[in-house]
């Protein structure tokens, strides 16, 4: 699947990246090269191969992640907001949406 510069611009938009034209120029050919490289996987016939789910070991895949439904302390509003760039009245404030 050939990938071109307008694809790259569209991908940047999907990824919420506002790339400068100079960056697009550099990234374009690099991403094309990497995508061409990964296409070597098409040499392999994987018709009946199950896709792996993570790096799980047989034990890890069986891990029982259930826990008791108990009340445990959490961060709390004050602490959760401590590192926010623009907290306001107990909330994360953002620029206007519409």
């Amino acid at each position: 699947m050939p990938i071109n510069e307008s694809d790259i611009a569209k991908v940047a938009q999907l990824a919420h990246l506002e790339l400068a034209p100079a960056e697009l120029k550099i990234f374009g050919p690099q991403i094309v090269e990497i995508v061409n490289y990964v296409e070597q996987l098409n040499e392999l016939d994987t018709t009946n191969v199950e896709p792996a789910i993570g790096g799980f070991t047989p034990e890890g895949a069986k891990t029982d992640s259930e826990r008791r439904d108990e009340l445990v302390p959490s961060l709390g509003q004050e602490k959760a907001l401590e590192e926010a760039p623009d907290p306001a009245e107990g909330h994360f404030r953002v620029p206007k949406v519409l």
């Binding site: 995508v35 961060l75 620029p95």
Partner: protein, 459 residues
């Protein structure tokens, strides 16, 4: 005793940082104060350095990125809490490639780490600061994270031990996520016994990370013993071919001879799909990264771009100004391979080939107890040499990424110097949960052939 040790480590970190740039934060007073009151346990008073993508309360966690900058996490990572409970003293946070993406540390927003063996060369990456801090003798032990070789490769380039445990051995809670199905916290040290001791402290089930496996943690120190008789060591001769530096290949073949003479049985093994590992890795790792890094949007923590009066504009500007080029490149690649219409062609295909790579290992380990390879195809390369060629940089990880894809443990062990006096390392890969075997093999080798050379830049 412990106060003096920690004081010496802090002083060395301070003094050598001008040359090495290994630390992004040094906790001068705090570390010394804690040395006087630390809990008593198996690591009492031992100074350790922590990669700046692990959360430590009271210290920054920048991940080598401007988008987090001086972010201070509100909780300790599980592995950090366990170190503290065991009495270890954290002296600071180490430099790394931005969000652990890189093999040379040149992708850090705060400048590259210099290799203590030659400051014109890279430390390796992404956990370059931790590797350099241990190699230069600032601390005996450091933690890093390994997603595709980020502990083992810098360990090899800096001449120290570097362990990536089995996926699920250590908790990832409080490790800033890059590629969650590949990430694992790893250990740097100069002594095998120190790797064993620290692994025993940090390993094990954690209710905050559902991918930690419910597998008992053995006494790793007891598993060390010099007798290598009867162990079967797999030798994948195909991986010693093209692209490997001659000195590296020779050095690692000498190690194979050592094991043979020590009574181990050398078995030829094949990993038929290993050649596809880099391609698989750069699809899966970037796909997971594009999703994990979506959280950096300027809302809850870290940097927010100014002059963006509209929400989506704020997201884009924040990410454009906050992320460095390699992170953007990987987010773009990951977004592309996951985008509508391409998912099956790339992501699903890569996960299928990942299954084949896993099966390669399961088959190989029917014939042997561990596999030996070089850790890195070359010794440390000059700073700047590969920065403009991302694909060439990715190929550094050719020996290390398979372990992350399959979830198996890997250990890099120093085995000498090149003619330029640069460290060379070999890698041991084992079946799931075989850390005791890997440590025993490393210990047997280093007892017989101790790595006693010292770098020119050292404490």
């Amino acid at each position: 005793m412990s106060r003096q040790t920690v004081e010496a480590a802090v002083k060395a970190a301070d003094k050598l940082n001008e040359t090495l740039n290994a630390f992004l934060y040094i906790d001068r007073e705090g570390a010394i104060k804690r040395a006087e009151t630390s809990s008593s346990g198996p690591l009492t008073g031992i100074p350790v350095a922590i990669k700046d993508n692990l959360c430590v309360v009271g210290m920054q966690a920048s991940c080598g990125s401007r988008i987090l900058g001086s972010y201070h996490p509100p909780y300790n990572a599980t592995v950090i809490q366990r170190l503290l409970d065991a009495g270890a003293i954290i002296i600071g946070k180490t430099n790394c490639d931005e969000f652990a993406m890189g093999s040379s540390n040149e992708n850090s927003a705060f400048g590259p780490v210099k290799n203590p063996w030659d400051i014109k060369r890279v430390s390796g990456g992404s956990s370059g600061g931790s590797a350099a801090a241990v190699a230069a003798g600032i601390v005996p032990v450091a933690l890093g994270s390994d997603t595709g070789g980020s502990v083992r490769q810098p360990a090899s380039l800096c001449g120290v031990l570097g362990l990536k445990p089995t996926y699920g051995r250590n908790s990832r809670y409080g490790l800033v996520a890059f590629a969650s199905s590949l990430d694992q916290v790893g250990i740097f040290a100069r002594e095998v016994a120190d790797v064993a001791r620290v692994l025993g402290v940090i390993a094990g089930r954690d209710t905050h990370d559902a991918t930690t496996a419910n597998v008992p943690v053995p006494n790793y120190v007891e598993s060390l013993s010099g007798d290598l008789k009867g162990l079967r060591l797999g030798f994948p001769s195909a991986l010693f071919g093209k692209g490997v530096d001659d000195e590296v290949a020779k050095s690692v073949k000498d190690v194979v001879e050592f094991y043979r003479e020590s009574g181990a049985e050398i078995v030829d093994v094949e990993l038929p799909h290993a050649g596809y590992a880099i391609a698989v890795y750069y699809i899966i790792a970037t796909a997971e990264a594009s999703s994990n890094l979506a959280r950096f949007d300027g809302v809850r923590y870290g940097f927010r771009a100014e002059d963006a009066p509209e929400l989506r504009q704020m997201y884009r500007k924040t990410r454009e100004e906050g992320f460095g080029p390699e992170v953007k490149r990987r987010i773009m690649l990951g977004t592309y391979v996951l985008s509508a219409g391409y998912y099956d062609a790339y992501y699903r295909k890569a996960q299928q080939v990942r299954t084949l790579i896993k099966q390669d290992f399961l088959n190989a380990f029917k014939q042997c107890d561990a596999i030996i390879t070089p850790t890195s195809p070359t010794p440390a390369f000059p700073i700047g040499e590969k920065v403009d060629d991302p694909l060439a940089m990715y190929l550094n990880d050719v020996y290390t990424v398979t372990a992350n894809l399959a979830g198996v443990p890997g250990l890099s062990v120093p085995c000498g110097l090149s003619s330029d006096r640069l460290p060379i390392g070999f890698q041991l890969l084992g079946p799931y949960w075989s850390e005791p075997t890997l440590l025993k093999l490393a210990d047997g080798y280093l007892k017989a052939r101790p790595f006693t050379e010292l770098p020119p830049v050292r404490a």
